[in-house]
Symmetry: C2
Subunit: 348 residues, 2 copies
């Protein structure tokens, strides 16, 4: 496990006023879900074991009920959906299932693909473009990509999937609800024998505390993953939240086109500060490089002087101590960040 | 994963009036914890990211805060405690860390040891007494043992631990709070270089829905396990519950000596029914063998006619279709079970 992820506010004693460090869009109104979960936490009848009480009864050993519900929603057979303890469990299960294979990871990207593949004895190659050698049997791709915000062209990926039936394509679409670019639907992906799609309820509904993700693909591939999962890995509250969300829409303040416009404005304003390179993004977060100075110093300064948290991106493969990642927040918070960075430059 | 665990009430449409199928002692007053968790589910300040809100912030990638708290409580260095997504995650992590080794499992016992070791390429030997061959490098022992209720003699285990420094002893003490026999303390076990103790918050506090367990041992062994765990495997609500429980005692109706007396009474009454063999137990649950008929038929009858759920134990290694397991309930519920089984025999 790498040292240093986003949302590491627990390391600081200062109150965080604006948090750019996590890619989770957290302006979702969760009050209805919270109310529902609280009702489920309190037993309605102490002697009944039909679980009105989420604490005191075991979750289903495998969360089949939620899997069937999601399958119905996405027009898939139930065997094509596997619900996991966050998308992270899916990553580790896939690496374990394909233990010891030859794997390419499109870098820079989320570090867990490399960690999981290394742990399970893969021979891992880092690639920086969508091309790979003859010996590769598994390819990991994050789309939209963390931390760059890039979205890979769907047709280009499709071409590779068809041209390389011997390669299993693992496409992490955790940020699928935060782009206007064309991505694979679960149904499309399940039509190929060699594609696994990762999905995150965490990212979509701002629920990282619960740990809830799922993976979709053709039945044969998902069946292989299932033989490697441990029982009860998804807790009762996460399952209940998943069932609730499959039936109820949460009201959210997300106006995606407007949000991505604001991301563009933030990107342009950062560029105008000078001293920064900003990667072009197709989603709400972006990668930034400091031309002078180290991100560790900037991060420290922003927390201590301004209560602002950014993501030090120096521990992503291929990046260094000059890189950081930020997720677009409200215009007011974004302006606060711009001012704070300008001030850091002026004091530098 | 085996098909068929306890607490499988979700398979039946009938209401369950008395549930003997799970070993979880569920007459614990959780109201204070429930109230606390509900408060933590609702954000106190929507823009703050200091997580008053358990849903919307990531848990610690590794639950170090809770590990340190438990270490303090058990007089251990912090590195000697690893908190897991239920004791089940600990079982799979241990099997993974010692991948491909020669393993003995004292049977019949909880099936996950075998499943986890098989998944990770161990060469597994079933043993039925505490003795094993020279080539064994790992031994799994459940103490008190599920499903038999037997407690292995502490001195006999200690002798083996000292005599076999080349063997890693994994002792699952998930039921440690439900026996009066002498068991290892975390501090004692951490004094050996070759012992891992598994502990379950689920069993102690009746919280199987949350998924919260931990493993203790010497720092070197726990360090090895830590290199194999994935981030964020323990959800925020489980961590918060663990922190709460480390500071607050829950009021519980558990009078252990009286409860174990009731278990003895139930055991004796079952024997008196005739047609049943009952294993001697040192804890609250017990293994029973039907001399005639199949447990599947008895289980079905008890659910449908009496709303009583028992644990079909036929899928434990070394057992067959004649075995079931029950956990002692209230005297009234136990009498209801006795009457129902007597009735089944009379109708048989």
């Amino acid at each position: 496990m790498i040292e240093g992820h986003g949302d590491d506010s627990y390391k600081y004693s200062q109150p965080i006023i604006a948090n750019f460090s996590s890619n989770v869009f957290n302006r979702v109104d969760l009050s209805a879900l919270q109310k529902h979960l609280c009702q489920c936490l309190v037993p309605t009848d102490a002697t009944s074991c039909k679980c009105s009480n989420l604490l005191t009864c075991y979750p289903e050993p495998e969360p089949f009920t939620l899997e069937a519900r999601l399958a119905l929603k996405y027009h898939l057979p139930a065997r094509s959906v596997m619900v996991t303890n966050g998308a992270t469990e899916a990553i580790y299960l896939i690496a374990q299932t394909f233990r010891g294979t030859n794997t390419a990871i499109l870098q820079p990207t989320f570090s867990e693909y490399f960690d999981a593949c290394s742990m399970h004895g893969h021979r891992v190659t880092s690639i920086y473009q969508l091309s790979f050698g003859d010996d590769i049997r598994m390819l990991w791709l994050c789309n939209p990509n963390n931390p760059t915000g890039e979205v890979h062209d769907k047709q280009a990926i499709t071409f590779l999937i068809l041209a390389h039936p011997e390669v299993c394509f693992v496409i992490d679409q955790s940020y699928e609800y935060f782009t206007l670019e064309s991505l694979f639907t679960p149904e499309e992906a399940a039509g190929y024998p060699n594609v696994l799609l990762l999905h995150s309820m965490t990212k979509r509904y701002a629920l990282p505390g619960l740990r809830l993700g799922y993976v979709t693909g053709c039945e044969g591939l998902i069946d292989r993953l299932r033989t490697h999962r441990m029982p009860w890995s998804v807790n009762s509250i996460a399952i209940e939240a998943g069932l609730y969300l499959s039936e109820h829409e949460l009201s959210t303040s997300l106006d995606l086109p407007a949000y991505l416009e604001e991301a563009k404005r933030l990107s342009a304003a950062l560029k105008q500060l000078g001293g920064l390179e900003v990667w072009d993004t197709r989603t709400h977060f972006m990668l930034v490089r400091l031309r002078v100075g180290k991100v560790s110093a900037l991060k420290d300064y922003l927390v201590r002087k301004h209560g602002i948290l950014i993501r030090d991106a120096s521990n992503f493969e291929g990046l260094d101590e000059h890189f950081f990642r930020i997720a677009t927040q409200t215009p007011g918070e974004n302006n606060r960040l711009l001012t704070a960075i300008a001030q850091w430059f002026s004091e530098y």
